[in-house]
């Protein structure tokens, strides 16, 4: 008789390496789900009571119908892909520029004197004021949206990088120089690692601003994207579609924050003891 393998069969979750949820996290998810379900139920029950037209006050079931209709017609996947592509590209370009100029201004007094007034001036002119001009220059579409998102992300990353670079303890820089490190080695091995908590704060703030800016830019300068869906739904009295767009934005941000930003923070500043997790916030 062949020997029987008595070891327990590994679950799919274990096989693909997903982290097992802690009981506390599981409880929090359950409570969150119950809260959401209660709100949805109250919303659905309130619809016949208030007796308003569906375009004015759609029921959750109308919203679910609109979601499936948008999926069936291929509209929602295309718009989500467009929005996420724009968000990723805009954040990447804005963060790169903000990091470069932040390090430059933070380290060089000359660059600071030359660029600071201009940057302070541009910081005061919000991206919404620029968008009509961007549309004039680059027309409706990807270029205008990318420039607007880059503009939004640039400033938080820039100011936080400057702060991070300028608050690097002088003793660390002096100690490295006294050991014979070159200027580039000091920047690469001391200044940038020490400024990472500030840079990450800037990135997180910039990414959040970019997500909000994306909606505004898509409303004005695009013919696709989740922002456009929200706007188009409102103008064509398809309020259920507007709500689908709003929910999509919310869930996309949750997706980005919980599956990318927070783990990245835990892997860097959290690991180095520079991040304090708030109680009840996990």
């Amino acid at each position: 008789m062949p020997a029987v393998d008595s070891r327990p069969v590994p679950s799919v979750v274990r096989m693909i390496g997903l982290p097992k949820l802690r009981p506390r996290t599981r409880r929090q998810i359950t409570r969150g789900a119950i809260g959401c379900a209660a709100i949805l139920l109250a919303w659905q029950l309130s619809v016949p009571l208030v007796d308003l037209p569906a375009y004015f006050y759609p029921a959750p079931l109308d919203v679910i119908d609109a979601f499936f209709e948008l999926m069936r017609k291929g509209i929602l996947p295309a718009y989500v892909a467009d929005s996420m592509g724009r968000f990723a590209a805009g954040t990447l370009i804005g963060a790169t520029l903000g990091l470069f100029f932040g390090v430059l201004i933070g380290l060089s007094r000359t660059a600071s004197r030359l660029l600071s007034p201009l940057i302070s001036f541009l910081f005061a002119v919000v991206e919404m004021a620029w968008i009509p001009l961007f549309v004039l220059w680059w027309g409706y579409g990807i270029k205008t949206i990318l420039v607007a998102l880059t503009y939004v992300v640039f400033f938080p990353v820039l100011y936080n990088t400057i702060l991070g670079v300028r608050t690097v303890p002088a003793v660390l820089v002096n100690a490295t120089r006294s050991l014979g490190a070159s200027r580039w080695q000091v920047i690469w091995m001391v200044v940038l690692p020490a400024a990472i908590p500030n840079i990450l704060t800037g990135l997180r703030t910039g990414a959040g601003f970019a997500f909000r800016g994306l909606i505004f830019a898509e409303i004005i300068a695009a013919k696709s994207g989740v922002g456009y869906l929200i706007f188009e739904g409102a103008t064509t009295q398809q309020t259920d579609r507007t709500i689908v767009g709003m929910l999509a934005m919310g869930f996309l941000w949750l997706f980005i924050e919980y599956l990318y930003i927070r783990p990245f923070e835990r892997a860097t500043v959290g690991r180095w003891g520079m991040l304090t997790e708030q109680r009840g916030d996990s």
Binding site: L18, R72, K73, G74, S224
Partner: protein, 116 residues
């Protein structure tokens, strides 16, 4: 080996890595579905001289919306729409493949203006 897997799982960046892999697999599955969905239409369209524009009759399972008309305007010139059917001119053969891969397309046939 098990230790390596355990360590990778415990690494804080395992969640973004798994998420990215999952999204990539999902995207590949979507692309594969598109290929499978579009293959019969493309077989029916047959091969032709490259670079020569063709005219297509595209059937949708629903009346086209602004999104669909915008899409078709990007891939060709809309001659007219009739209910759930769109007649396109000046479509590149390679672009016809991209149209066929859209899962919301019901049917694609070559269109000759005289016949309709």
């Amino acid at each position: 080996m098990t230790d390596l897997v355990q360590n990778l799982r415990r690494h804080p960046l395992s969640v973004p890595a798994i998420t990215t892999t999952f999204v990539a697999v999902l995207w590949l599955a979507y692309a594969a579905f598109g290929w499978a969905h579009g293959a019969p239409f493309l077989d029916r369209l047959g091969a032709g001289p490259k670079g020569e524009p063709i005219a297509l009759r595209v059937d949708l399972p629903f009346p086209p919306e602004a999104f669909h008309l915008t899409y078709f305007q990007r891939v060709g010139r809309i001659a007219r729409t009739d209910g759930q059917t769109i007649y396109l001119r000046g479509v590149d053969r390679r672009t016809a493949g991209a149209i066929a891969r859209q899962y919301w397309i019901k049917d694609i046939t070559l269109w000759t203006e005289k016949a309709s």
